[in-house]
Symmetry: C2
Subunit: 185 residues, 2 copies
DNA sequence: GGTGTTATGGACCAATCAGTCAATAACTGG
DNA sequence: CCAGTTATTGACTGATTGGTCCATAACACC
């Protein structure tokens, strides 16, 4: 139910998704949707927060189950690039897409983005520390700063993926970012 | 005249800018604006293309006048972060902002973004080559791949700047990106 | 099976959207 | 000074927006 709403906002953006789009996506009537979720903005914020939480849980799960810390970072950066058709890269990231659209006008969205990226940075920094203990990443690096730089690089890939940059170029960029930001010595 | 339109689209996004906003910004009447620039989409594309061309000219000018190639790359990455209030960072980049909003629905915008980023990459790659000749950047790096990685990192900083990440953290990220992607040896 | 409660749908609303057009004002060259 | 052209304006349109509301349908409980 909410996943249909999420897909609509994801592909069309917030302003670009009309109430009619949401009704079609959910199959609900107008009154039902308002009774269940409130107005458009409330529904959007709810979907966005659940998306962020799901991503955070996923990343933490990766870190728990991964053989090595560096694998988590690698998967984080290359994750959306694996689809050879580039379709997944074109969708971008619901949070990044809508944060760019709305941060200037909706303070709650900007705050949610900061909160979510802080959580992501914390997990990435933990992965960097683990990778350092495991000898895969130079110990001279500051884990927090490195984690933030990795996040910035990944976000740049999201932007370039969304505009339809070809997957091969995106993968080459990802490799260059990983090699540069996570030197083994 | 067009710069007022650019400011409106920049801050509010495409869908978020109404015709009334444009009339207020320009001081024109409705018919005048239509007579001069056509419909909203044409006006937007014109403003976007001029913005891209101005950025391209500016970057090429930097490269011509810079003492060292690496200075150009450094300025490119840290350029919008210098404003200590973070206000400039919050505005983001007209191209990045609107490309994220519209790439999925307006193929022309996505194509314009690809074109513009390809031009930027070409100048950055030239700067990398020059920095390699000048001994500031390791010659083992592939200039094209490095340029693309720098672009991705800068775009990530734009995203994080737009959501209101604090300027100190942005600067730290920029330094980490530059240090990692442009090693001197 | 009847009754009180909740969920549903779609008619309806005011506001706003992008875009048109004809009347008018401001220029232009002669 | 005037005729012809161009530029400007704001009222107007039809479509669409987000949101309300009430009649009705489905349901649960006794």
């Amino acid at each position: 139910m909410l996943s249909a709403v999420r897909a609509a906002f994801w592909d069309k953006g917030y302003a670009g998704t009309s109430l009619d789009d949401l009704l079609t996506a959910t199959g609900l009537g107008k009154g039902s949707l308002y009774g269940a979720f409130g107005d458009k903005q409330s529904l959007f914020l709810r979907v966005l927060r659940e998306y962020d939480e799901a991503n955070d849980r996923m990343l933490r799960g990766w870190l728990e189950r991964a053989d090595r810390g560096i694998d988590v970072i690698r998967d984080f950066v290359t994750g959306s690039l694996l689809d050879p058709s580039g379709e997944q890269a074109r969708r971008g990231c619901l949070l990044a897409n809508t944060a760019m659209e709305l941060s200037a006008s909706a303070a709650e969205v900007a705050a949610e983005a900061r909160r979510s990226y802080a959580a992501t940075t914390a997990v990435l920094a933990e992965a960097v520390r683990r990778a350092q203990r495991e000898g895969d990443v130079a110990s001279r690096l500051d884990p927090d700063v490195t984690a933030r730089a990795v996040l910035a690089g990944q976000l740049g890939l999201v932007v370039l993926g969304r505009i339809g940059q070809d997957p091969a170029a995106l993968s080459a960029m990802a490799e260059a970012l990983l090699a540069g930001l996570l030197p083994s010595s």
